[in-house]
Symmetry: C2
Subunit: 352 residues, 2 copies
């Protein structure tokens, strides 16, 4: 698959370029090495996840399984497993913490769908569409409670400090996004603060708890934290770009969702700031009043192309991806390190 | 203030009785001794609560303060303070844990209002009415995250285990209640399971973390846990009774809220099970279809009186209150013990 992206040259000429997104991508840019390295541990994580969604209250496993089975890649728990192993950890607590991280993520998704009033999640009906807002809020709370119980099982106050901090920061980021919603004056720095909190904080915590339970030195912990936060920012920016540039099939969710929900993401910010007065009036109307027509989406995509907003969002993602790679650079070579470096490229070039 | 309650004798005669609820209540039945004993510590708890609702994201302190300032008695954190002191604790972590407990409670209230679609809370507009469901969900999540961060600060894995377990159980109880909603076949045991989870679990955890950080023996911990859970059940049952029998002013919330929301509580269960076919048809219609008219509420109250449902709900509450008192009986006498015993009676006789 390829994505055609158009941008404007300095002389105002629109030029089309084609970015290979899947078939021709860097053969190293794969998540497969990471998946292979952690596959045995991941089986245990999945077993634990299954057992911890169990409850006598029937609705809980139903809702939880709907979301957990819905085809996420479990990238975040894989970061925990790989970072622990890369630091020489030989116990079992990385399994427990990896499952905690996935539960925190799942709880966030459940609450996000309520907050965003989303009816779709990864190409399937969202939990709130199927079971209502009430169940989504409460099962999210249950999973968060279970996440903390598992952290207690992992018996590391250091890991608990990092993950409980992430829980606060994620919610803070979501509130920030809510407050910034429909405010076209949001600038790139504001937006980065939002995604650092709502997305990157969990990537960062997931990567940092590995070295913590392995008893690694502070510079090593710091390296993983930096890797995680920058990978998370890159991941979110690519997600934002894909919502305008990807294909429905490959994405597993409807392209244009962010636009229809009036979500101000980096592509929109760039378009708005670079646009004419007329363009800005279009964006203001679309974001503030929710112009959900197909015509409006077509016009939005045309403006994205005209101002190079997708291409530049991907460039920004590459920038953070590079910081993530450099964060791990001083660490000794290993298969796990190579796999984690590949994941950065994978996240940037991913279409599925 | 008095509440007039009518019940039916075994021979089918309706008899009115008057239960003194305020002016003539047992002079020992006061929360004042407990408040006096923990007042110095409570100042520190309040300071900590204030500082931990701080965030650069403006909406967070606004929403949090609205709820925190809205006149709750902070009974749960007082249980933590008193149980720690009663077990001879001399450090500062009881302050931190007490604040955690209050944050868990506040987060639950925020999410409850979303789930129940409540517009009022303690006689004031609910947060979801003022700031919307989105902010209520997310600020609840933030407060839960902050609660866990404070637990980490308290540096007791035992306290963390108890409180994280409570977080899961509370959410489980809420889901149970959701699943049982509008199901008139819910029986008293089902209902007790719901309130043990959604209300009593936090009372229990609040009381148990005191002896835990004080390093008390298992029988002492168990005594406080039993005290907490039974006090919590009694507290909830009285709440349920007050929603039909109290006065709006004294309650700080609208009498009849549970009825209008179609909430199946013990008074309703008792009325339904004891009623005629015609009565059952009334309750089914009211609970399942939401008969919110004043006439329906009057009829509901008349049925409550006819079948002694309020009186017997209060009797049930007294039963659990007695178990709570007996749970503490083996512990050595102290001012804190007396205050905790008084609180049981206070909860049962409270009207404000």
């Amino acid at each position: 698959m390829i994505a055609a992206v158009f941008y404007q040259t300095t002389r105002g000429v629109s030029v089309g370029i084609v970015i290979p997104l899947e078939e021709n991508r860097n053969p190293q840019a794969s998540i497969t090495p990471l998946m292979d390295l952690v596959s045995q541990d991941m089986l245990l994580v999945n077993q634990l996840i299954l057992s911890k969604t169990g409850s006598d209250v029937q609705m809980i496993p139903e809702v939880a399984k709907h979301l957990i089975d819905s085809g996420g890649k479990r990238l975040r728990p894989m970061l925990t497993l790989a970072s622990a192993k890369m630091c020489g950890y030989s116990g079992n607590h990385h399994i427990t913490l990896a499952a905690s991280v996935e539960f925190m993520h799942t709880a966030t998704l459940l609450h996000d769908d309520v907050v965003d009033e989303s009816d779709m999640r990864r190409g399937k009906s969202s939990a709130r569409k199927l079971w209502g807002n009430q169940a989504s809020v409460l099962v999210g709370d249950f999973l968060l409670g279970q996440a903390f119980r598992m952290m207690v099982d992992a018996d590391s106050m250091g890991a608990l400090a990092v993950l409980s901090n992430a829980a606060s920061v994620i919610a803070e980021g979501e509130v920030m996004q809510l407050a910034a919603a429909q405010n076209m004056e949001t600038n790139e720095d504001d937006y980065l603060a939002v995604i650092r909190a709502k997305t990157a904080a969990l990537f960062s915590a997931a990567a940092e708890v590995g070295p913590i339970i392995a008893g690694a030195e502070k510079p090593v912990r710091d390296a993983f934290r930096s890797y995680g936060v920058n990978l998370g920012v890159a991941f979110q920016l690519v997600d934002d770009a894909l919502d305008y540039g990807g294909s429905k099939q490959a994405l597993g969710k409807n392209t244009g969702d962010d636009f229809r929900e009036g979500k101000i993401t980096l592509p929109v910010l760039l378009c708005y700031r670079r646009g004419s007065d007329q363009d800005r009036a279009f964006w203001k109307d679309a974001m503030e009043n929710g112009s959900s027509s197909d015509e409006a989406l077509l016009q939005a995509n045309a403006l994205m192309e005209k101002y190079g907003a997708i291409k530049d969002t991907i460039s920004r993602a590459r920038h953070y991806g590079q910081i993530a790679r450099d964060a791990l650079a001083p660490l000794p070579p290993s298969a796990h390190k190579d796999a984690l470096l590949d994941v950065v490229e994978f996240c940037i070039s991913r279409v599925s």
